[in-house]
Symmetry: C2
Subunit: 285 residues, 2 copies
Amino acid sequence: MPAAAATPAPAASIPRAEALARRYGPGAPALPDGPWNAHLELLLSHRSVRGYLPDPLPPGTLETLVAAAQSAATSSNLQSWSVAVVEDPAARDALARIASNQKHIRECPLFLVFLADLSRNRRLGDRAGQEMVALDYLESFLVAAIDAALAAQNAVVAAEAMGLSTVYIGALRNDPEAVARLLGLPPGCVGVFGLCVGRAAPGAEGEVKPRLPQQAIVFRGRHDATQEAALVAAYDPRMEDFSRRNEVSADGWARRVLARVGTLANFGGREKLGAALRALGFALK
Amino acid sequence: MPAAAATPAPAASIPRAEALARRYGPGAPALPDGPWNAHLELLLSHRSVRGYLPDPLPPGTLETLVAAAQSAATSSNLQSWSVAVVEDPAARDALARIASNQKHIRECPLFLVFLADLSRNRRLGDRAGQEMVALDYLESFLVAAIDAALAAQNAVVAAEAMGLSTVYIGALRNDPEAVARLLGLPPGCVGVFGLCVGRAAPGAEGEVKPRLPQQAIVFRGRHDATQEAALVAAYDPRMEDFSRRNEVSADGWARRVLARVGTLANFGGREKLGAALRALGFALK
């Protein structure tokens, strides 16, 4: 059976240096030359989109997204994730209200909730008369959440490969129990995040958001933060410039991080996540 | 700035139906026709590879993988993940021993450890004289682990886009404290999984592993497991056939799941994950 690797990768439409300059912002440290093709260009061109046309998606879109999602690795092939497709406008509205009223949850033609789902393995044990003791540990919840994330990221890449846009909705974790009631989730199953999918509304796509330079993210051998303060200080104005052109306020990165995790005021009630997971049947031992 | 979506996607080299037949195995329920191109083919062709040539990778490979990884969404742009590149043979050997002695950790030309890393945000607070109170909650650990997973999956797709292969090493979680000591990780930073990257050794690539049919994974509106037992029963022989041709033993899916989570004997010590995370500075409130 021929490997995907045997097929030459299709050519990119913009140079590697241009894609990297967008991803890291003007003035970021230079990176060495390296491999480049259309697949890599697609990955580097990602942006989260918060405004959608209501246009329905082409037939087979959902099935293709799910096939891509299922093609991601899954720990020990346990496949401990599921995905809910939410079409009912009242349910969409309720989910939007849980998620700080993000209007794109109501607008987008396809809204998915990715579920960390240990219930399928649990039912398999029930049918075999075996108690699935390992599912009661934090490790099993983490495996399910990571499985869901790997799957979802493949779905995101697949959506962008079809010319669609996406945005993750982590704010479903503001109230996981309410989400579970809305979706009729069994014990051991929780929505870890939502995903809006659709065509970007005119003007909603925006620019590629600059990230921290690689020197702040990558360590050789041992963790090293000696250059970090300087790297962050140089990144901050790049984020401010992006923010001024693309967002409501024009804060740099440091201010945003401080506002987000330096207080519980902007945490959306997520300090209760542990209690919510336990109520939903994750023992988290 | 032109969107990636404006560029027509490159054509696939195999038909959609063939890629789906490999992904779900012979006799799986048919899926409707839908979008198809080279990007989608790349995603659907994924397989985890456990044998590598020692050949060094082309210059710029690591930087390209990291740029793809950083292009994934990150919750509130917190960027609460990092990645360690492990080159020292003694450290590789120690990591292999932690991870049930998986020889590909020693063999592959590039071994990465993806880190859930709240320490960068914590240091930013230290510099600003602000206590980052939200980092002490389970939610913040989960955000960091999901950020790391989204990033890593983009790195996997990028590697495969360059004709390379990968395998995730979840077994680093057999002893997160030992991994942290080896990599000199600060408090609030933990290895969530490793990733081997390299060229597949001859014969090591294997077939695409069949997954559960979409009907067992996707729910419309509300969770529904009424067809699940029948779907799993039909999937089991597809996994047995795959396993007979590609793996050491020839177990179906149900037997493997029972062996994996029906007991703590094959859990690799991961029942201690919660205690290990707390020792590493995640309060998990």
